[in-house]
């Protein structure tokens, strides 16, 4: 990567000679998706993309140009284009830009990867998926209409230079997998997934993650539950105490805390698409003035969390990875920021949350790993035993939240009755709804560190043009009192 880093430094020097602030990124991604579906290899796909993205600031105006031409001519043409695009905008006042408090980014960072997935043969990995997918169909129930097992691997190599003196390179490998069974009968269709829905479990890791999941071992239970859901009673509506499984709770954190604390949203920079936030900037200028939830709510942003998808050495503005508290004992302390948004509210340094999806997109504020810290409620069994009556909700099925991140509705694949401190019958089509501060205010117990783990989401959308980002959220199961259940 040294040659391309030299190219980026060269183009930044050219920008500086014209008095233009510039950040130049080179990104090379290799994505591989393998899937077995209904006994067929349904997908063997590799996408490789490489290019340059150059962001400039001319006066108060921003411009960004992306090209696949990784050459001196391509880089300088992109710089010229970025400047022209910036100059075509209506004149804007030059706002503040937070300094690099810890100096410019220099060096190389690489994420963990024990067993390189790209070094393994396709045949071996497909055989692994075949075995898992076959196990979903093992009992031959005709009501199982779709069975699938999938894995994805992504390697991203980046280089960044800037007129602020950044010159760094990074390498990340993401690997994950999952299985899913779809059952249909009459007017009903039900889905069951393991270890989580959507893209499955994905981490900064290698193939060791996939083998550790034991997909084939869990498959028979997954298929059996999909069939059982077809005739399970519909989840009753009403106000109930609810215990959320870690994955569902992670998505709850993502949607109603992570997004709500993105400072660009708070400052209305995302009002045209992703929306704003119920949190006002004044609550950040006067840290400690806003109660977000109960005293059990401790939330941390951590771009240094090992193996988590929101971890890195430096963000895409060259700010070093940081860990800092967002909420302590239910009280808001900080937000997720990049250099411009941090400066707008008078912060002395960026929160280090600027990330871009590939070479053709510019950095915007994205969550690093926003996690609910473990509590003191002990094991999951301890939490259940302490719950006389309620519902246990597991595995996300759908999610929706308003543009201020207040009113939400989530559905899960399954609910189980909690009765007398134990899990009981299965319910289908469960959902629950709430309003962000009231919901987090109702949380009265969080399981302890032994139950805590990061859950990952690879499909977080934001920005225009659209950007997809991956992030992890650490959670342990938690209990919420008096939740509206079954509105859907």
């Amino acid at each position: 990567m040294s040659d391309v880093l030299a190219l980026l430094v060269e183009v930044c020097e050219a920008a500086a000679a014209h008095g233009v602030h510039a950040e130049a990124r080179w990104v090379h991604t290799r994505d591989e998706a393998l899937a077995v579906r209904n006994g067929e290899v349904s997908e063997v796909r590799t996408d490789v993309a490489e290019g340059l993205g150059i962001r400039v600031r001319v006066g108060g105006g921003w411009g960004f140009a992306a090209t696949r031409e990784v050459s001196s001519a391509g880089a300088h043409a992109a710089l010229t284009r970025a400047i022209a695009v910036a100059r075509a905008q209506p004149v804007a006042a030059a706002g503040p830009f937070a300094p690099l408090a810890h100096g410019p980014a220099r060096g190389h960072w690489a994420g963990p990867c024990e067993v390189d997935p790209f070094a393994l043969s396709l045949e071996a990995r497909l055989a692994h998926l075949h075995a898992a997918e076959a196990a979903l169909r093992a009992d031959g129930d005709a009501r199982i209409v779709v069975t699938s097992a999938h894995t994805r691997s992504r390697r991203t190599r980046t280089a960044l230079a800037s007129t602020d003196g950044a010159a760094c390179t990074q390498e990340r490998t993401e690997t994950g997998a999952g299985v899913q069974a779809v059952a249909a009968d009459g007017e009903e269709t039900q889905v069951r997934s393991y270890p989580m829905s959507h893209d499955g479990d994905v981490l900064l890791a290698g193939w060791e993650l996939v083998t550790g999941l034991d997909l084939a071992g869990h498959a028979p239970r997954v298929a059996a539950e999909a069939v059982e859901l077809l005739t399970a009673p519909v989840c009753p509506e009403g106000v109930r105490d609810v215990v959320l499984h870690g994955e569902q709770l992670a998505l709850q954190v993502h949607e109603s805390i992570g997004h709500a604390l993105e400072l660009d949203r708070i400052l209305l920079g995302e009002a045209s698409y992703a929306g704003t936030s119920w949190v006002q900037a004044d609550a950040l200028r006067a840290a400690g003035s806003l109660r977000y939830g109960s005293e059990h709510l401790h939330v941390t942003a951590d771009a240094t969390l090992p193996a988590a998808l929101g971890s890195f050495g430096w963000d895409d503005e060259g700010v070093a990875a940081r860990r800092f508290p967002l909420i302590e004992e239910g009280v808001l302390l900080a937000a997720l920021s990049a250099r411009q948004s941090a400066a707008e509210i008078g912060l002395e340094e960026s929160g280090g949350c600027a990330r871009a999806d590939g070479f053709a997109r510019q950095p915007i504020v994205r969550m690093t790993n926003v996690s609910l810290e473990p509590g003191s409620a002990g094991s999951f069994a301890d939490l259940l035993a302490d719950t006389e009556s309620g519902l246990y909700l597991e595995t996300n099925r759908s999610w929706s939240i308003d543009d201020r991140r207040l009113q939400f509705q989530f559905a899960t694949e399954v609910a189980r009755e909690i009765r007398g401190g134990e899990l009981g019958r299965l319910y289908r089509n469960p959902s629950y709804a709430g309003v962000t501060p009231a919901f987090w205010g109702s949380m009265d117990a969080v399981c302890s560190a032994s139950e805590w783990r990061p859950w990952s989401f690879t499909n977080c959308g934001k920005g225009e043009p659209g950007q997809v980002m991956a992030v992890s959220h650490g959670t342990a199961p938690a209990r919420f009192r008096g939740v509206q259940v079954g509105v859907a």
């Binding site: 063997v44 590799t46 490789v48 992306a66 905008q89 779709v146 308003d402 225009e464 659209g466």
Partner: protein, 460 residues
């Protein structure tokens, strides 16, 4: 070296052997973003990618790259061949992919009106002028403007070992403006088209300004309401319904919303929904990702379910006389199915939205919907909220702004309870360009329906 996409496709195809398809996609685009009546981001993209699909014994392997050198294309072809071979070896028998379409199977793509030469020039200056117009029109009312202006050109070429050689060249343009006051009350305006010059920034902004509430919104209790949906809201519903109800793979597997319902009424009389990829006024396309020629497909006629969408892969899975309807979403067909992407809902007899509102004693007027997601696939039940302009209708007129509400309702159910449609239709799209630019939209009227199920409301 030629920069023509079809020439590039031919060059890449020369590195393959056996059954192979090469798809070249070149995107050039501009997008200017603004908030608080200030430009915030401006993006220019120039990228070309080559996708190589190889079919071996009914199994497929796909590799995409934007390395256009001979070495890069040769490596992509070899990797795709190895991928297809690995899939065949792992399966231990023939796969169900029906193979690449021949020229006769693909048909001849029709000419369409989806390209505008001036828009293809990609000049950033009109974007700057559009932003300036939006800032000025909102400032007149003490409001601020938020939104995007974007234009793009996407060239697509397919060459295959079966003799297919097709190319398409399309442009699109989109402008949206959200006008917002100091209290956070907002209104929505948007326009889309093939040509950038058709975007009237002043008119779009004034539409947004007119939808900003001038008094505090009232709360609306959960319940079933008569509703008038503006075209943007209708388009959002139909966009979701397209994948839920008309996915031929889901239908073939017995899990689709129209399972056992084709030929039966599923929507109100008067509701006719066509996927029309050649419609003027839409965003036309010549062929799908398999290279199969696009043609209109009637999905609902007078409320009766007529058809589902297929690519060659899902049609083979369905068996019988099922055939591709030109709806492949990825080369070789997406493993997750096919879906319509050019929906046209025929207009009705109401002269305008005012006539729809006039017929409502007490109900809800919705400008647009937000964050739709599927709660239950089979019943097409969706949830989402309203946004940027929601009002109460009382005695046939708009009376008060309403706090945004959450709805949870079946998309097909709303069409079943539709009682009136405007005559005029418009192109609506959200311009959600994740990954490569692929603008699509719906051509729809405004509609009135009963029993719209409100399940919650925002607070604060």
């Amino acid at each position: 070296m030629s920069t023509d996409p079809l020439d590039l496709a031919d060059r890449a195809l020369a590195f393959t052997d056996g059954d192979a398809q090469v798809t070249v996609t070149r995107e050039r685009s501009l997008l200017s973003r603004f908030a608080r009546s200030t430009p915030t981001q401006a993006t220019a993209v120039d990228d070309t990618s080559v996708s190589v699909l190889v079919v071996r014994d009914g199994h497929v392997g796909t590799v995409e790259t934007n390395d256009l050198s001979d070495d890069g294309l040769r490596a992509a072809a070899a990797r795709a061949r190895d991928a297809a071979r690995a899939a065949a070896d792992a399966a231990g028998g023939p796969g169900e992919h029906p193979g690449l379409p021949t020229v006769a199977q693909a048909g001849t793509p029709s000419a369409h009106a989806g390209f505008d030469a001036a828009t293809a020039d990609l000049d950033p200056a009109p974007g700057g002028a559009a932003l300036a117009a939006a800032f000025a029109a909102t400032a007149e009312h003490g409001l601020e403007a938020f939104g995007i202006w974007t234009t793009g050109r996407v060239e697509t070429a397919i060459a295959s070992s079966a003799g297919l050689r097709v190319a398409d060249d399309v442009t699109d343009a989109y402008l949206k403006v959200i006008a917002r006051d100091a209290h956070g009350r907002s209104g929505w305006g948007a326009a889309a088209g093939v040509a950038a010059e058709t975007l009237d920034a002043d008119a779009v902004t004034r539409q947004a300004v007119a939808r900003v509430a001038t008094s505090d919104p009232v709360a609306l209790a959960p319940g079933a309401y008569e509703v008038v949906l503006e075209p943007d809201a209708v388009g959002s519903l139909l966009d979701m319904l397209g994948g839920l109800a008309f996915d031929g793979l889901a239908h073939a597997e017995g899990r689709g919303a129209l399972t056992d319902r084709l030929g039966t009424p599923v929507a109100a009389t008067g509701v006719t929904l066509v996927d029309d990829p050649l419609a003027a006024g839409g965003l036309p396309r010549a062929f799908d990702a398999d290279g199969v020629a696009k043609a209109p497909l009637t999905l609902l006629h007078d409320g009766v379910a007529q058809a589902v969408a297929h690519d060659r892969r899902s049609a083979a899975r369905a068996g019988g006389d099922a055939a591709s309807t030109g709806h492949a979403l990825a080369p070789g067909g997406s493993p997750w199915g096919a879906a319509p992407t050019n929906l046209v809902l025929h207009g009705g007899t109401a002269p305008d939205v005012g006539a729809l509102i006039a017929g409502v004693e007490r109900g809800l007027y919705v400008t647009r919907l937000w964050y739709l997601n599927v709660v239950h696939e089979r019943s097409t039940t969706l949830t989402g909220t309203t946004r940027d302009g929601t009002f109460l209708i009382e005695d046939g007129r708009l009376t008060k702004p309403v706090r945004d509400v959450r709805f949870t309702d079946a998309a097909l159910g709303i069409l079943e309870r539709t009682s009136a449609l405007t005559t005029a239709t418009s192109l609506v799209c959200e311009a959600d360009f994740y990954g490569r630019r692929a603008a699509h939209g719906c051509v729809v009227p405004a509609l009135r329906a009963s029993g719209f199920r409100v399940t919650g409301q925002t607070t604060g």
